[in-house]
């Protein structure tokens, strides 16, 4: 480690610091090797990234590794941020690529457009009733049973704090496609809840 030993005669001290600043400025500081900026960045985005990756992978240990790899990529590539998207979108997109790389070769597919296109859109009907009646724990468990592609879009929209246009940017699809994927995901969720309700 190249930091000099900061102990000062055995007294306690606070290292780093770094107050809050705008996201772009934070990345510029990271690009200059500012450790406290990296810490602030992690505090700002780490939990969201972990939640999103965890939602997609369903494996906590793997999600933690991917999150760390994502943060490592941020540390190394902060200079590559061009400001063409929000920082949150940028880091989520990095996490998505990291996730895809790690899942490559596994059966799990993040996005299967053919599959998604075949799903009926959600609308009022029996499936809506399943959502009306469902308990939160049931919904959470049902979401974990969804295909990764559905979990991904749901997480990006409801957990990552991104707007629909930002989600579209991360997924590299039009906003309309995001909407159709959301509807398909909700329809699939409703079907799972319906099936579970019928089996009780």
């Amino acid at each position: 480690m190249n930091n000099p030993d900061r102990d000062t005669g055995g007294t306690t001290f606070t290292a780093g610091g770094g107050g809050a600043c705008d996201a772009d400025g934070l990345l510029r500081r990271i690009g200059r090797g500012d450790e406290s900026a990296m810490a602030a960045f992690y505090r700002e985005h780490g939990r969201v990234v972990l939640a999103q990756v965890l939602l997609v992978t369903g494996e906590r240990a793997l999600a933690e590794e991917i999150t760390q790899d994502t943060m490592l990529a941020v540390w190394r590539g902060a200079d590559s941020f061009r400001g063409e998207s929000s920082v949150r979108s940028w880091v989520i997109a990095i996490a998505r690529r990291q996730t895809r790389d790690r899942l490559r070769g596994r059966r799990l597919r993040l996005v299967d457009d053919t599959f998604l296109a075949e799903q009926p859109s959600s609308g009022p009907g029996p499936e809506a009733t399943a959502l009306d009646r469902a308990e939160l724990a049931e919904v959470t468990n049902a979401i974990r049973e969804l295909p990764a592609s559905h979990r991904e879009v749901l997480g990006l929209v409801f957990s990552s704090g991104l707007s629909l246009p930002e989600v579209a940017g991360v997924l590299e699809v039009p906003v309309g496609t995001v909407k159709s994927r959301l509807s398909a995901a909700r329809a699939a969720l409703s079907r799972i809840l319906t099936e579970k309700g019928q089996s009780r």
Binding site: T12, Q68, R186
Partner: protein, 331 residues
């Protein structure tokens, strides 16, 4: 807002408005007004809220232990996994990990970075910047004669020879090695005067702690002598007599410096540095079981591991200087 399918004269909220509402994002005043008076849209918004709440509940509902993965999944050793959990629990500590593994060379230190493929096919690897110094990395094993050897990723075994001056350090869940009277340096986050330690370095009583030590952005470090060592932590008595309580947990990684080579733990990732001896042996000047970021995968060692040798003169790798030098783990 769009026209609803059931009544083209009565506009309903479109999906974007409903999603924004469920996601807690700003919604136009007109849309909010409509939502207050349209039962259909309220019901639809409630359904999306149910979905949103379910999504947010998934991380908490996902078990800590990973589900069995399919063949080929990269597995990391317990040490790395513990650290990952530690940094995620501690927040900004993650940055420390990144910095520890990501920062390049520093004046006065020789860094040995283990990169993908390191050790593969070559049991001994020359250390950049040090013509004579070589390293072997892999898993520590005991030889049939009771000595130590390193089994590299390629399966080769490098026998280590040691002397009384060979520096050895080990890291891991070694809370039991924090003993009263021993020198200690604890790094973590301070809360109400107590340090929740993530990183602890200690050594046998009377030994030196003059080693490199990772920093923790936003964290605090205290150095002194251990007293009141127990299962939940210990107290550091500084040179000025100040007593600082330190708590430990499963997330605390302990590095014990200046142990005898015989105390090193077989089966653990180990890095040895020294000079080539007879028959492919390594005359070890330092043997370290690194503290953080050591990664094992089916393909062998990967990045995230580095050790640093500090010497009396910067980048002087002569045997004499190394013998007098020091080696710290994790930096």
């Amino acid at each position: 807002m769009n026209a609803g399918p059931a009544d083209t004269h009565s506009p309903h909220l479109d999906l974007e408005d409903l999603i924004a509402e469920a996601a807690g994002q700003p919604v136009a005043a007109q849309a909010r007004e409509h939502l207050a008076h349209c039962a259909d849209c309220r019901a639809e918004a409630d359904r999306w809220n149910v979905v949103a709440d379910g999504v947010r509940g998934v991380p908490a509902a996902t078990p800590e232990a990973a589900q069995p993965g399919p063949p080929g999944r990269t597995r990391r050793p317990v040490m790395a996994g513990r650290w990952h959990r530690a940094v995620l629990a501690a927040g900004s500590a993650a940055a420390a990990v990144l910095l520890l593994v990501g920062i390049g060379e520093a004046t006065g230190f020789v860094h040995v970075n283990l990169s993908p493929g390191a050790g593969t096919g070559i049991a001994l690897t020359a250390v950049g910047g040090c013509d004579q110094l070589e390293e072997a990395s892999g898993t520590l094993v005991q030889t049939s004669s009771g000595g130590l050897a390193i089994k590299t990723a390629s399966g080769q075994q490098v026998t280590l020879t040691t002397t009384a001056s060979t520096f050895a350090a080990m890291s891991g869940a070694l809370l039991g090695d924090i003993r009263n009277g021993a020198p200690v340096r604890a790094t973590g986050y301070s809360s109400d005067g107590t340090i929740e330690a993530l990183i602890v370095a200690t050594a046998p009583s009377g030994a030196s702690l003059e080693q490199t030590h990772p920093s923790l952005p936003g964290g605090v470090t205290v150095q002194g002598t251990v007293t009141d060592a127990g299962a939940a932590g210990f107290t550091v008595v500084t040179s000025g007599g100040t007593r600082v309580p330190v708590t430990t947990s499963d997330y605390t990684t302990v590095t014990v410096l200046n142990v005898s080579p015989g105390q090193l733990q077989p089966g653990t990732v180990t890095v040895a540095l020294g000079f080539s001896g007879a028959n492919g042996t390594l005359s070890a000047r330092a043997i370290v079981q690194p503290m953080i970021g050591v990664v094992l995968s089916p393909s062998g060692m990967q990045r995230h591991a580095s050790v640093s040798i500090s010497s009396k003169t910067a980048h002087d790798c002569s045997p004499v200087d190394l013998a007098a030098g020091e080696l710290g783990a994790g930096g």
